[in-house]
């Protein structure tokens, strides 16, 4: 029983273990001299830590994501609520939203640099753009999916529009909104790396281009990639933990 339990818990790491082993032997066989083995990558992460760059770059990337993402969230939720409730507004603005959505946030890099120069603000602006549209559309659709009976009950109990938003509409859309927030944070994390390759001089994206340009340090390139993956998993786990809040988890129950 316990050994089976242990095996079960280790199973998710099997794929990673196989991949790391295959990576190790593939690099040894290729003798390219440029690509690092897993061990060399670990050493590179250690080197970054010793130089103080690890914390500096991780913090720089998280800082940009946090502010760009939170700014988008603060504006997108009210916008989505408004469009979800106000049919004419939705009809007027939805085509614009749909037109903007397929444009990769990275396509905005030249404009971001034109407006905000090379620096944090450009990166945050790109994160904002990447997050704002999906969050708005999520909130809007979530409002459409509210059960009519809940709205009617709120009205029957005499709630005025502001109270109705606070007491019924917002809690009703929260489960869907959190799913949208989780997916969007994933997108924001993808975008920050790309933005940092061009628009700034710090962060994990910058680490990757800088390591390549300054002497083909592919061990640092791969170290950066590993860090990006690990932090992405952490961010996702953080958002997933929101889905377990009891006043929200009803939205995910399969009945």
């Amino acid at each position: 029983m316990s050994s089976r339990g242990l095996g079960h818990r280790l199973l998710p790491f099997a794929g990673i273990a196989i991949f790391v082993t295959a990576w190790h032997f593939a690099v040894l066989r290729s003798r390219s001299g440029l690509l690092p083995t897993p061990w060399q990558t670990a050493l590179a992460i250690g080197e970054l830590a010793r130089k103080g760059l690890l914390v500096k770059y991780v913090v720089a990337s998280l800082f940009r994501v946090t502010w760009g993402y939170l700014g988008a969230l603060v504006l997108a939720v009210p916008t989505g609520l408004l469009l979800g409730l106000w049919r004419r507004g939705e009809v007027a603005l939805n085509p614009l939203l749909q037109l903007l959505r397929p444009i990769s946030p990275l396509a905005w890099i030249p404009i971001a640099i034109l407006w905000f120069g090379v620096g944090d603000l450009s990166a945050m602006f790109l994160i904002f753009l990447a997050s704002f549209l999906p969050l708005t559309v999520t909130a809007m659709h979530a409002v459409h999916n509210i059960e009519e009976v809940h709205l009617r009950a709120g009205i029957n109990f005499g709630l005025r529009s502001r109270e109705l938003v606070r007491e019924v509409i917002f809690p009703a859309i929260l489960p869907q909104l959190i799913v949208g927030m989780r997916i969007t944070l994933g997108i924001a994390w993808l975008v920050v790396v790309a933005a940092e390759m061009i628009a700034v001089n710090s962060g994990l994206g910058f680490l990757i281009v800088d390591a390549r340009n300054a002497g083909n340090r592919y061990d640092l390139v791969v170290a950066g990639m590993v860090l990006i993956g690990a932090i992405g998993v952490g961010l996702d786990a953080l958002m997933r933990s929101l889905e377990r809040i009891r006043s929200v988890s009803w939205g995910y129950a399969t009945e």
Binding site: V149, R152, A153, N156, F157, G158, P171, W250
Partner: protein, 245 residues
């Protein structure tokens, strides 16, 4: 005392006549069942009296005042999905009491949670409750704001038949304790004869009042009482069904 008055209610939806010339007077504290086949407009009628729909013709008055919008003095109870899934049992029951002082609110919540038999489940969420419990929760939420009228739209329709019988008994007990005026929509003939003081039998579309049947049997009603069977069969006959399978 006269409570609810329907005067020549007519309703047309996009060319379809749904209700026609409905006249009905309901006295205070009375339990009325609106009975009719599916699609006869009985739910539409309940939505009109509840203020959620405006009739094409006629008007409903309550205490002499014309109904134009929903009002917290008269609460609409849906099938069990009307409870708020993001709130606990206590929070659901207290939903309509936001303005009340905390002490009074807590007392009322506790009183009605116990009245509907949900004591011990105060911190549970609706998805942890059975269908019957959710239905009782919704009734408690409605009663907590002390309404004079309750509207129930096929409230037990989604429950299994045993739970449904228990719920009827519970509802009668609550009604006898609280003496609210109740308008109850159903398509179940037995249910209407078990519950109502008067059964308003509606015709198929467009819904008209075919007949109003006084159920003059005191509670608790014995379902094998000859009078019960007689009234039930009269209504079966009125709807045009032989009471046979």
């Amino acid at each position: 005392m006269m409570k609810v008055q329907f005067r020549q209610i007519g309703m047309t939806f996009g060319g379809t006549r749904v209700l026609d010339d409905i006249n009905l007077s309901v006295t205070e504290g009375e339990f009325i069942c609106l009975l009719g086949p599916s699609g006869c407009g009985k739910s539409t009628l309940l939505n009109i009296v509840g203020g959620f729909l405006t009739p094409t013709e006629g008007e409903v008055t309550i205490d002499g005042e014309r109904v134009t919008a929903p009002d917290r003095r008269r609460i609409f109870v849906f099938q069990e999905r009307g409870v708020f899934p993001w709130l606990t049992v206590n929070q659901n029951v207290g939903f309509g009491l936001v303005g009340a002082p905390k002490k009074e609110r807590d007392e009322r919540v506790a009183h009605y949670v116990n009245m509907v038999g949900l004591g011990g489940f105060e911190s549970s969420y609706p998805r942890e409750l059975s269908g019957g419990m959710k239905q009782r929760l919704e009734v408690a939420r409605a009663l907590a704001v002390n309404p004079d009228v309750l509207y129930l739209d096929e409230p037990f329709g989604a429950l299994d038949s045993i739970t449904r019988l228990q719920m009827r008994r519970e509802l009668l007990r609550i009604w006898q304790a609280e003496r609210k005026t109740i308008l109850f929509v159903t398509h179940d003939i037995e249910e209407s004869v078990q519950l109502a003081d008067r059964v308003v039998v509606l015709s198929a579309r467009p819904g008209r009042v075919r007949r109003i049947v006084d159920i003059d049997i005191p509670h608790p009603r014995d379902l094998s009482d000859p009078r019960y069977i007689q009234l039930r069969d009269e209504i079966f006959g009125e709807i045009g069904l032989a009471h046979q399978i």
